[in-house]
C-alpha cells in the first residue's frame, strides 16, 4: 500500500489507530467527570 513495505504499513496503521481508539475511549469513558466540577 502506497509503495511501502508491509511492516511499515502495519506499524503506521496500528499505532495511530491505537491512539484514536484510546482518545475515543478516554472521552466516552469519562462522561461523569463533569459531575465533580461543581465543587471546584
Amino acid at each position: 500500500m502506497f509503495g511501502l513495505p508491509g511492516f511499515t504499513v502495519l506499524v503506521m496503521t496500528v499505532i495511530p489507530l491505537f491512539w484514536i481508539i484510546y482518545t475515543a475511549g478516554f472521552y466516552f469513558m469519562t462522561r461523569d467527570w463533569a459531575n465533580a466540577d461543581e465543587e471546584d
Partner: protein, 512 residues
C-alpha cells in the same frame, strides 16, 4: 523588504498585542499571572500543551531525521501522537484538582505540597531550572538562526530581536499571554506544515510515486529500521523513541503546568480530543516532508535545512513567509513557556520560598517579572556565545526533565504510598542515570535509549524508596484525603447536601 519579512513583522506585532491584551485582562495576583486565573478552556489547553512541547525540533530535527533515516523517524512521531492525550488522561484532571486543593500555583510548589517536603522543592527547583534554562537557550539560538536565515541580518541582531519579542509578551501578560500566543502559534504551525506537505506531495507526484522514487534511492528508507537497517532488532532504542515524546512529556514542568490552568478538571476530556486531532494532522508531516526532500532537494549538506529548502522550492514566495512564521511560532511557543516556567521556579520556588518568605503576592509577581528579564538576559548572553551543539542541549534537557519528573508527577496523583523519600530518590536517580547515559553515549553500547533507562530507574527508585520508608515517612491523612478527593468523579458536595438533608429531616417533629 521582502514578503517573508513583512509576514514576520506582522506576526511579531500580533504576539506583542496579545501580550498587552493579556496584561489588561490579568489581575495582579500570582494565580492570575502564573496560571491565567485557572480560566482556560479545552482548545487553548490542548493547543498550548502541544505547541509548548513542540519546539523548533519539529521543523529542523524531524525533517533531518526523515531525510537521513527515512521511516525510522516515524517511531518518534508515533509516540508523539498520543503524548497529549496520555498526559491529559493520566494526570490532567487529578493534577488540576489536587493543585487546587493544596493551593499550589507552580508545578514545583505542587511537588512540595504533595510530598510534604521542602527538600523535594529545593531539589526539583534546581533540576528543573537547569534543564529548562538549557532548553530555553537552545530555543533562543534556534529563533535567532531562523530569523537570520529569513531576513539576511546578522545572527546576533536576529537573536536580540527574537528574544525581545518573546520576553515582551511573556513579561507583560504572564501565563495568559503565553497560553493565547501558544494557541495562535499552534494554528500557524499547523497551517504552515500542512501547506508544505501538500505542495511537496504535488511536487513528487503523490505519496505512492514519492515512495517509489525513494525506493530507487534507498529502499531501506521505507522500512522502520533506518537507512542501513541499523535499528533492526534494536528494540531498546525503538521503545525509547516511542517513549520520549509520549510518557516523557508528563515530566516536563513547563508542559504539565497546563493542567493547573484549566478552567475545570473535566476540561481535560475535550482537550484530549483536540490534542490527538492536532497531532494526527501535524506530527507525521515534518518527518514525511524530510523524507521526500531527498527527491526535491537531493544531496543537502545540512539535513536540518531540509524542510526550509523544500519550502523555498515548492512554495510560492508569499507562502514561504507564512512557513517561516510557522517555524518561528514553533520556537517561540516553546521558548515563552520555558521562560515563564524557569522564572517562576527561580522567583517563587527558590527566592520566594527559601530567601524572601515574608512578601506579598504583588511583590512575588514583580519578582517573577524581574526574573523573566534576568533569565532572558542570561540566556541571551550565553546564546550569543553559541554553545557547540544546540540540538544536543535540547534533547539532553528534554531527556533529563522527563526521566527526573515523570514518575514524581504520575505517582503524586495515582499512588497513595508515594512519599518524599521515594520522590527524592526518583528525581535524583532519574536525572543522574539519564545524564550519565547521555554524556557517556551508553545508548550506542547497550542498545538502550537514555530516556527509557532513565524513566525505568526513576520509577524503580520511587517504588523502592517509598515502600522502604512507609513507617518512618508515612503520607499524612490530609494528603491521602486530598488524593482521594482528586481521584473522585462524584460530587462530594452533592453527597454532603444529601446527608445534610437527611440530618435535617431527622430533626423535624413527627408528622411535620
Amino acid at each position: 523588504m521582502n514578503i517573508a519579512v513583512a509576514f514576520l513583522i506582522i506576526y511579531f506585532l500580533a504576539m506583542i498585542l496579545i501580550g498587552i491584551w493579556a496584561m489588561k485582562k490579568s489581575g495582579n495576583d500570582s494565580e492570575d499571572f502564573l496560571l491565567a486565573g485557572r480560566s482556560l478552556g479545552p482548545a487553548v489547553t490542548a493547543l498550548r500543551l502541544q505547541s509548548s512541547s513542540m519546539s523548533g525540533y519539529m521543523f529542523a530535527g524531524a525533517g533531518s531525521l526523515g531525510y537521513s533515516s527515512g521511516y525510522f523517524g516515524m517511531w518518534y512521531a508515533l509516540g508523539d501522537l498520543g503524548g497529549g492525550v496520555l498526559n491529559l488522561s493520566i494526570i490532567g484532571r487529578r493534577m488540576r484538582k489536587l493543585t487546587k486543593i493544596l493551593g499550589s500555583i507552580s508545578s514545583i510548589e505542587y511537588l512540595e505540597n504533595r510530598y510534604q517536603s521542602s527538600a523535594v522543592r529545593m531539589v526539583a527547583s534546581i533540576l528543573a531550572l537547569g534543564g529548562l534554562f538549557l532548553y530555553l537557550m537552545s530555543q533562543f539560538i534556534a529563533g535567532g538562526a531562523g530569523l537570520a536565515s529569513v531576513t539576511g541580518i546578522s545572527f546576533d541582531i536576529a537573536l536580540v530581536i527574537a528574544v525581545a519579542v518573546i520576553v515582551s509578551y511573556t513579561f507583560l501578560g504572564g501565563y495568559l499571554a503565553v497560553a493565547y500566543t501558544d494557541f495562535v502559534q499552534a494554528i500557524i504551525m499547523l497551517i504552515g506544515m500542512v501547506w508544505i506537505l501538500i505542495a511537496t506531495l504535488q511536487a513528487v507526484g503523490g505519496l505512492t510515486a514519492g515512495h517509489q522514487q525513494i525506493e530507487a534511492i534507498n529502499p531501506n528508507l521505507l522500512t522502520m529500521f533506518g537507512a542501513d537497517l541499523e535499528y533492526q532488532n534494536q528494540w531498546g532504542l525503538i521503545i525509547g523513541a516511542l517513549l520520549i515524546f509520549s510518557i516523557g512529556y508528563m515530566g516536563w514542568p513547563h508542559v504539565v503546568v497546563s493542567h493547573m490552568a484549566m478552567k475545570k478538571p473535566s476540561v481535560s476530556r475535550m482537550a484530549g480530543v483536540y490534542s490527538t486531532a492536532f497531532n494526527l494532522l501535524f506530527i507525521p508531516a515534518p518527518y514525511l516532508v524530510g523524507l521526500l526532500a531527498l527527491i526535491v532537494v537531493p544531496n543537502l549538506a545540512a539535513p536540518e535545512q531540509a524542510i526550509f529548502e523544500v519550502a523555498k522550492t515548492v512554495l510560492p514566495s508569499f507562502a514561504v513567509g507564512i512557513v517561516m512564521a510557522a517555524v518561528m511560532a514553533a520556537i517561540m511557543s516553546t521558548a515563552d513557556a520555558l521562560l515563564l516556567q524557569a522564572s517562576t521556579i527561580a522567583s517563587r520556588d527558590l527566592v520566594g520560598r527559601f530567601f524572601l518568605k515574608e512578601v506579598s503576592e504583588n511583590t512575588l509577581v514583580k519578582v517573577s517579572r524581574i526574573t523573566v528579564l534576568v533569565m532572558a538576559l542570561g540566556g541571551l548572553t550565553m546564546a550569543l556565545l553559541q554553545p557547540p551543539s544546540v540540538l544536543f542541549l535540547a534533547t539532553f534537557a528534554a531527556t533529563v526533565l522527563g526521566a527526573a519528573f515523570a514518575p514524581a508527577y504520575i505517582c503524586a496523583v495515582w499512588w497513595r504510598k508515594a512519599n518524599k523519600v521515594g520522590a527524592l530518590a526518583s528525581m535524583l536517580v532519574g536525572s543522574s542515570v539519564s545524564v550519565v547515559w547521555k554524556l557517556g553515549d551508553l545508548g550506542a553500547v547497550t542498545g538502550l535509549d537514555p530516556m527509557l533507562i532513565g524513566i525505568v530507574c526513576s520509577t524503580v527508585a520511587m517504588i523502592v524508596g517509598s515502600l522502604l520508608t512507609q513507617k518512618s515517612h508515612p503520607v499524612s491523612a490530609h494528603i491521602l484525603d486530598a488524593i482521594d478527593s482528586a481521584a473522585s468523579v462524584t460530587s462530594t458536595r452533592s453527597t454532603r447536601d444529601v446527608k445534610e438533608d437527611i440530618d435535617l429531616s431527622a430533626q423535624m417533629p413527627e408528622g411535620g
